[in-house]
């Protein structure tokens, strides 16, 4: 009986961990390419959730089917944020960069509250609902879909970065901006791309979450700290690291919540974060 509960807990930790990984990949991509920590990343997730919600509420389209649309929309938002704001602070002091993305975070939250009210909203009857039973373990179908979706997108990002010319150019810019520019890579284009893809990752994660999570303007706050932990644990700039770290954080969080009580979930994750910063600041897969 107990072992069944633990396996069940492990499974749900794994599935939420995959979502954390997808959010963190967006963050790590932006950081890797241009050394800016995006504090407003949780708000891209929030916008992704609202995009799914409104497409569902107005056009009765299921969040799962509208994922590509959400991805495109958020790509646009991310690219625009780069073009309008971030472009101006690439060479600014770190303090100015932190406060710019921090201001963007409050701005997006405020706009969402202004436009769509602070109410909790939910997607009622998605095509994915109910539970499936896998050899005795009960898993929610929305969570399972979200986990599988997150793996697929992560795989897609990984292939894009390693197998395409554009992806290679992005990696080159991340490795050495100046050298990449000398090779004829337009760094402005790469930065825009990184912000677009980064925001799209968070947006897709939001779309996947929208089938089983409440949607409200402050939802990003629930994920941003966890995303930082995952990015650090995996190593800034590493996609594979983020995937492994996401799963690890998801499992530790859920197991910790199971044994110590759910109110300490975040505390455990943050202690893990501090321990990693202290003993292995480059993360699991990061380079020194």
């Amino acid at each position: 009986m107990t072992s069944e509960i633990i396996i069940q807990t492990l499974a749900s930790g794994l599935l939420i961990g995959l979502i954390y990984a997808l959010i963190a990949i967006g963050l790590t991509l932006i950081f890797g390419v241009m050394d800016i920590v995006n504090f407003s990343h949780g708000e891209f997730l929030m916008l992704g959730m609202y995009s799914s919600f409104w497409l569902y509420a107005i056009y009765h389209l299921d969040p799962i089917y509208t994922l590509p649309l959400t991805a495109v929309l958020l790509f646009g938002v991310g690219a625009m944020v780069y073009r309008v704001v971030i472009k101006k602070i690439i060479d600014a002091p770190m303090l100015a960069q932190i406060f710019t993305t921090f201001g963007l975070m409050i701005l997006f939250r405020g706009l969402a509250q202004f436009l769509w009210k602070p109410d909790f909203r939910t997607v009622g009857n998605s095509v994915v609902s109910g539970t499936v039973s896998l050899s005795g373990i009960q898993i929610g179908l929305p969570q399972l879909t979200a986990g599988v979706g997150a793996i697929l997108v992560t795989l897609g990002i990984y292939l894009f970065l390693t197998k395409t010319r554009t992806g290679a150019a992005l990696e080159a810019t991340a490795a050495d901006k100046e050298a990449a520019r000398l090779m004829g890579i337009d760094s402005q284009r790469m930065f825009t791309l990184a912000w677009g893809v980064g925001a799209a990752c968070a947006g897709v994660a939001g779309g996947l979450l929208s089938t089983f999570f409440p949607i409200f303007p402050e939802i990003g706050a629930n994920f941003i700290l966890t995303a930082f932990v995952v990015v650090n644990l995996g190593g800034f700039g590493s996609v594979v690291g983020a995937l492994l770290a996401g799963i690890l954080v998801g499992v530790i969080e859920v197991m910790g919540g199971f044994f110590l009580g759910p109110q300490y979930k975040m505390g455990i994750v943050l202690c893990l974060f501090l321990a990693v910063l202290m003993f292995r600041p480059q993360g699991l897969m990061g380079k020194v």
Binding site: V37, V85, K88, I89, A92, P93, M94, L95, A96, Q97, I98, F99, T100, F102, G103, L104, M105, I106, L107, R109, G110, L111, Q113, F114, K117, P118, P217, L225, F228, V229, N232, Q263, Y264, M266, G267, L270, C271, F273, L274, L277, M278, P281
Partner: protein, 346 residues
Amino acid sequence: MNQLNQQPVVSASYGSAGYKWPMRLFFVVLLAVVIFFPFFEKSPSHQNFVILVLMAAQLGVAWNIIGGYAGQISLGQVAFYGLGAYTSTLLFTKFGINPWFAIPIGGLLAACISLAVGWSCFCLKGHYFAMATIAVAEIIQIVFTNWDFAGGAVGLNLPMEGGWKFLIFADKEPYYYLALGLLLLTLGVNYAIEKSYFGYYLRAIKDEPDAAQSLGVNLSLYKQIAFAISSFFTALGGSLYAHKELYIDPGSVLHTGLSIKMALVSILGGVGTLSGPVIGAAVLTFIEEGTRMLFGGSGKGTDLVIYAALIVVIAVYYPAGVVGWIRGYLSRRTAIRQMQLEGRSA
């Protein structure tokens, strides 16, 4: 013209030298106005506004010691603010220790904990240090939210009656002078730091850590001292808040947004300058209260949108803050005047 534009960057800190005496006169007059303000302005809401400015300024000055002078961007100072508020309140309400003793004890405890945090986090650079301090503050918030003895999520009340013996008052004026006194004390310590070798060490650590180390400056020691001083005064600010509001809970004294505000006040005014946080506090409180009065109350978050948009605009276009902008302007004028004296045309 191009040369004119480059001049201020080099001589930004010396450019205003020609305006030293008018500046000093201005500050003396300002201080006199602030001291006598409660005599000619009796409206509690107006007095409260100035108290808010003074308290925000004090926190900004305290943040500036570690964040501005030493360049270690702590985004978790609210941990020490909350520790100060909780320690003095718990000692007072549960153990009957007089606030005159309990408040400094809270400050010392915060300073001690800052040493532990600094010891483990100062090896981290840039973003990593900032994020580690956020994590520390969040952990402390979780601890206090789940700690029943400290009131848990419900919070703690302070008794209503008191007077100067317990630093609890029915009207605003005593708090006004407490806030002003604490701000002047913090400014005094900051001024002493700025003029001492310690201040030079801190600026060396901020600008050229490797060079400073190679010249024998003990980086982690001076960072620790700066962090402890900053945390001590932040904790005193927390205790003042507890005594003014007579109620604290994790949401009010351990809220991450407050850490950001402490840093924002300095950035808005001018990082690493004495008067910057004070100017920043006046501007930020004015914006906050103004937008709240004009657009708040609708529950639509309009005030939040305007506030956030202003933060972004300032961070993008005026990263040097108000003081940096004034210095730049004054040194441009000095440069023009000098050129005219030398008989050259600009």
